[in-house]
Symmetry: D2
Subunit: 452 residues, 4 copies
């Protein structure tokens, strides 16, 4: 028997493949899905079923492509939605795959049509619950996707799902959600890669609200909804083209890059220091591992993308972007910034400052303009620098008018990465006086600088 | 945080590596241990602690080599035993590694000094229990290793460990044992790769005996003890040399193989059909994936081994043998049997028969001598052919006198693999009339042939 | 600068990729062409040109797919032929790619439109000649593809190409042909992987015939033309679909295999011994590494193929078949023959005999019917068994009436592989008395048995 | 037959492995030599002979370790030197390996005992000449290693080797030297990866001097001799410990790095921009691909080394250092500079300037102090900035007094990499006013700035 969880880094998306005998199934396959085929071949089973827990908005699902390669059957969750493929699920529907029993358990709340799947062990006992976004390690999913006016209704459904359907399955059941810590779907997912109903019952703060009213108060909250979610959702209702069918991006010489990149957006995936030292004017700083979380907020669809990388091989970045629907990465600067300078093309810098130097500056001058681009929750948890202006990095485009242009703006986040992204965005929009604080609030705390 | 289980196929041995921040630890490392280093480097932590759950007898542990490569500290379990390395553990001892809390929980029963380790999640709650051989999915470990006279005492200790220490931790705790299904340590390990205390409490047949007397009756059983266990144990108390330090086996031409292999034992790792069709006289049939389970029963230590393989690369076989202490694989037949025949060297065959043909033969002649080399348990579960003589494959060397030489002996197991091993052993010992039943009892059942 | 030769094993086809700066080109790309993309990405260049040396008949060329992935431009050779893509070449045409000069040198003979490409080193001196099929290490190509009536004309063209165009370039020029030893395009290609014009001038037997009449006598020969060549040629004039777009074959259980495989042809890729011991009735024996050379002679196109393999992973076999246009490999027996027997399905054997036993048999009985399936050239070179009937393995289907059905037929080749293929074909056609000689003539010679 | 060249990047060292049948040999194995074993196993031969072309000074040879793993026999070149292993070679000595003939051809000049090896093709004709350092593509080797007083004698020997021994073998012989372009052994090696005696005879400038006096004039030159050459040579006469036996470096947290690195030297392998933006005070900038060429000039032996990397995996850097004898890479900063700043540790910057800005600065102020760290040859070939002071990067440590401390020093090379190395060295030695010119002279030329 094969049981494997595959994580798409950055998205913190979990898919699962389970095979036994000559048959197997996949839960919520990722878009670049040849890995499932390979696992099946290596373990001697073919994928006969694909299960979706809900219509996804934070990544593109690979169901349709996986069907093309395997002939499997797709079962999707949301019977109210018009999918372009597959078949909706009946309440309690049962499948036998490789002798294993899988049972559908509708678990509305996140969406009305969310479904969990209960896998029984080879002897037939309830064993693993694939909860999709209904239940995470340390959190439950948001209920505001249909709008706050429907949130109470959805919260009620979620409460019922969790307390009346899931928990009664027993503490010993293993919980396999669709996301781990780091997902945009919840900032409170705990950093334990495996969990159980029993562990969650005891330690998941949301499951402590056994009183439904209290649950309602704490869960029916409004959250950010990234602009690209609608697009994801739309693509996911139709099915997306395959990774292998896309031409890989072209390595471009500095001249070619210079000539072509003005038609699109230049994304610089290097770390903050290299970008700060010198970058192509107008490029956006988005460190490689930050692409899955931030690309959707800043990069337009339907516009060619051009990459600047630290490493030779751009394919990791391309894969990250592809997974959230950016199929038009047309080129990258071959060899990185070194040939750019060797060919005499212009570059810009973004000034950086260490926390030590910022502290000294603050001693000299009280009224520095500090821009804190962390989220509200982070700021509350890790502390704030007195007097800083807080705008979450993803909200910068909507709050440009709140940021002065004629004054030095010290941008900080938790580390220096998101602040460089914010600073690069401002620079692109015409700001000339952004300075990034290296180490961010972590560095600040390490030096015992004063906090609010 | 990295949490990864590594399985040594064939041995069905599980080791675990857990890392967080810059530190990590390994539970029961396997002998070819560079993989732990690689994982540490890739995830940015170094291995600072190595924990052994008990002194192992079924494989060689890699602790000492891993220390050489990392400088980690070894904690071993059995304070009564004289280890050549590391430090014994105190009851309840606590370590902090990468901010994670690990706590020792003595769990005697299998051996007096067995220890489990309770890992807490990043927030400090009891999360995962590394149970070593004390508790498996679907079984508990044997208590007869110190002899049946001490079995009641050990069973009492095991009962106490399971019911008074482990189960009270709560159903939601994840159980990570040292073995999965297929281990020689227990033939009853269930085929579910992940489990919990709650699942075991409900579904592990041994944990249903909450009455200690009943538990005693069912658990204090005598089991086979492979002859190589003593050697494993002895090596494990000292620490073993590294995989990388061993010269790989030499590819040998047919002439070289012919000249040298007579000094040692020839092991043919091909599948049963190729071996049956033609093999080097005197060679032993042991299909590749059967090496971890059967090599120890049939291959002498301190004797050079020579391999005949189907594939070009012998290293998988070498690794399997190395993990159970066979360090002297000196050569292999380059190119397999084809050049052997092309150079005109002699080969032998082992006759094979399909179940269909065996049935016809049985119709003609009632008194065929059938040798069933499956274990007692298998025979009871899957059925027996009427009139078959039963000798478990591992016991053949001790029961040669029970097997006739002047009569055709039809050897069968569950599939055809162990029967070919048995037949090859008999052939090596002078038997000339062994015939292997292809498909074994599975084939027999598939054809609805009569069973006892 | 990257210069790399890629060999397609079995076909002994060489393709070449050369990159410098940001640009590169490929000579005669193979069909599964993602490897060129990967090399380009890793070395920072993009493929801008694809050159074909001639229209190929022995494998499917990947030009069109490579264009889809790179946007490169195809230059093909045969201006008389109507290609479905690309552009024909002018005599002496020059390209500059990454600063390197490539020059077209028409080299008719094999086909009227064959072209060689002369690559100059970075300083501009004639350096490497890509000769396609015009000049190999140790041989020149056949001239009979347009029929023997045009052979004199083609031989004259080839003579002119070799002696008046190529050799004058100078002994120091490196020769990079389209095939190495083992190709079906010539059985005389020498086993030296690298060569030069100077080495060939001195040691290539065909280049010793400086007198054109003598050259004509030795080169204008009729050779076998495999039946699949026409199909290859036709596909190659259009361009072929991509490897990645094809669904991989399905792992099938014995039951599924049994039910479906009767619609197609079963190809057993195991070695001769396993096949001989037991195989699925009606299956054809074609050992894995023999697929590229023999599939085209025995396997129909437009018929589903089903594989039986020794190893778990069927993709090597699938790739081999794909490269010569077999796109319909729909399934394979998951787990190989073992589950087949375990499920009680019927199998057949093919008797085998060692040369020792054959010799004894010959001593007993003079009139054994021996079938030698080697080629004429091999037989002449390596010797023949007195009285053997010679039919080349590829000609068996056309000569069935020459082979007795009611008498034991001892089939031999050089090793045992092609003889098993021949025997399996006969068995499929109803012969019941084939016996394969293990080791073939090599074994025969090794035992100093008598030769003609 | 396997013929493969392996390149050690950076060192531009070529080793060769050739195998046929069951035997094979290696020419000048690199230190991390498990790759030869792997190739042998995959192709079914064992390495029976190891040949050294001369005692090497620019890298550590792996002969002794390779013997340990294979039992092969070492043949070394320099009969005058006392090697700690193997056996010296007789003039014209012949070996038969896998049926291939290899013949020793003494080729003194570089060292008195240098030997070339002439490999014959399978039919016995002279085919490939392994020339060691005697003959490269586009150059011949230096003759000054024994001092300039013996240079005329050595030049005479080299002339004799080239013109009287090698060239007479014939233009068609393939030349396989020990180095390609980029080696420290010669800055004039041409960028063509394959060559022949004929090509070299025509296009190698040194071979145009058929008159011995003229040859003497152009070849008997004094060259730089890196300080680490003596150490290499000494280790190579004894044999070096294996790669696998060395513990890999430890990932260190910022605190651990801070506490330990002061005992050694910190090497920052990031690209120039990241280093310039912020680096650990006192660290030396040496971009990853520059390690093989520059480490030996700047890094002490017998001192622990600590790495700062851009990527997570430090093993590429470790391997590069290991190949030139730096076995003491004890740790690296886990996660790179980001956690360093997050933990509030101090960093330094090195100012950088684009050529555009430097030009503007030069317009403003005539008397800028420009430091050109390129080699004499480069400067002559690519042009010089008027007024620049020229000190080759490797000579900076010996010429510190020539560089002003109280004035801005603009450092440039060809690209920005070596200038950052030079600037980091100066900074480490107390200079505070170094500025690195991004793009170096290449950028300068691209902008059509004035040259001398």
């Amino acid at each position: 028997m094969l049981f494997e969880r595959l994580e798409s880094k950055g998205l913190a998306h979990y898919s699962y493949i389970i095979g036994r005998g000559n048959e197997g199934f996949v839960i919520d396959p990722r878009r670049d899905c040849s890995i499932y085929i390979d696992l099946g071949i290596r373990h001697g089973f073919r994928i006969t079923h694909i299960f979706e827990t809900h219509r996804n908005e934070d990544y593109i699902i690979g169901s349709v492509e996986l069907v093309r390669l395997t002939g499997a059957h797709i079962w999707h969750a949301d019977s109210q939605m018009k999918y372009g493929y597959g078949e909706p699920i009946d309440d309690g529907q049962i499948w036998k795959i490789g002798g294993l029993k899988v049972q559908a358990m509708p678990s509305p709340g996140h969406t009305p049509g969310s479904v969990s799947y209960l896998l029984h062990d080879p002897n037939g006992s309830p064993w693993i619950l694939f909860t999709g976004d209904a239940l995470f390690a340390g959190d439950v999913d948001r209920v505001d996707l249909l709008g706050m006016e429907r949130a109470p209704e959805m919260t009620h459904l979620l409460y019922d799902t969790l307390f009346n359907k899931m928990l009664p399955l027993g503490d010993g059941v293993i919980v396999c959600p669709a996301h781990g810590a780091g997902s945009v779907c919840s900032s409170s997912i705990a950093g334990r890669p495996w969990t159980t109903l029993g562990f969650e019952r005891e330690h998941n703060p949301k499951l402590h609200f056994v009183d439904e009213d209290e649950f309602m108060t704490h869960v029916a909250q409004k959250n950010e909804r990234p602009p690209y979610f609608r697009r994801m959702e739309k693509i996911n209702l139709q099915g997306a083209p395959s990774f292998e069918s896309l031409p890989p991006p072209q390595p471009l010489s500095p001249r070619e890059f210079f000539q072509n990149a003005s038609d699109g957006v230049v994304v610089d995936t290097r770390m903050e220091l290299g970008y700060g030292a010198a970058h192509i004017p107008g490029s956006l700083s988005m460190w490689l591992e930050g692409l899955p979380s931030f690309a959707g907020w800043f990069l337009p669809y339907d516009t060619p993308l051009f990459l600047v990388n630290e490493t030779v091989d751009p394919m990791k970045a391309v894969r990250y972007l592809f997974r959230i629907g950016y199929d038009e990465v047309v080129g990258y600067l071959a060899g990185g910034m070194l040939p750019w300078h060797m060919k005499g093309y212009e570059s810009e810098e973004t000034p950086m400052v260490t926390v030590q130097d910022l502290c000294k500056e603050l001693d000299r001058e009280k009224d520095l303009w500090l821009l804190d681009v962390r989220s509200r929750e982070e700021a509350e948890e890790a502390g704030e620098i007195p007097g800083a202006h807080q705008i979450h990095v993803t909200q910068i485009p909507q709050h440009l008018t709140d940021i002065p242009q004629n004054q030095t703006v010290y941008v900080f986040c938790g580390s220096g990465l998101r602040s460089m992204l914010a600073a690069s965005y401002l620079q692109r929009e015409g700001w000339r006086k952004g300075v990034v604080v290296l180490g961010g609030l972590s560095g600040w705390n390490s030096k015992s600088c004063p906090l609010k």
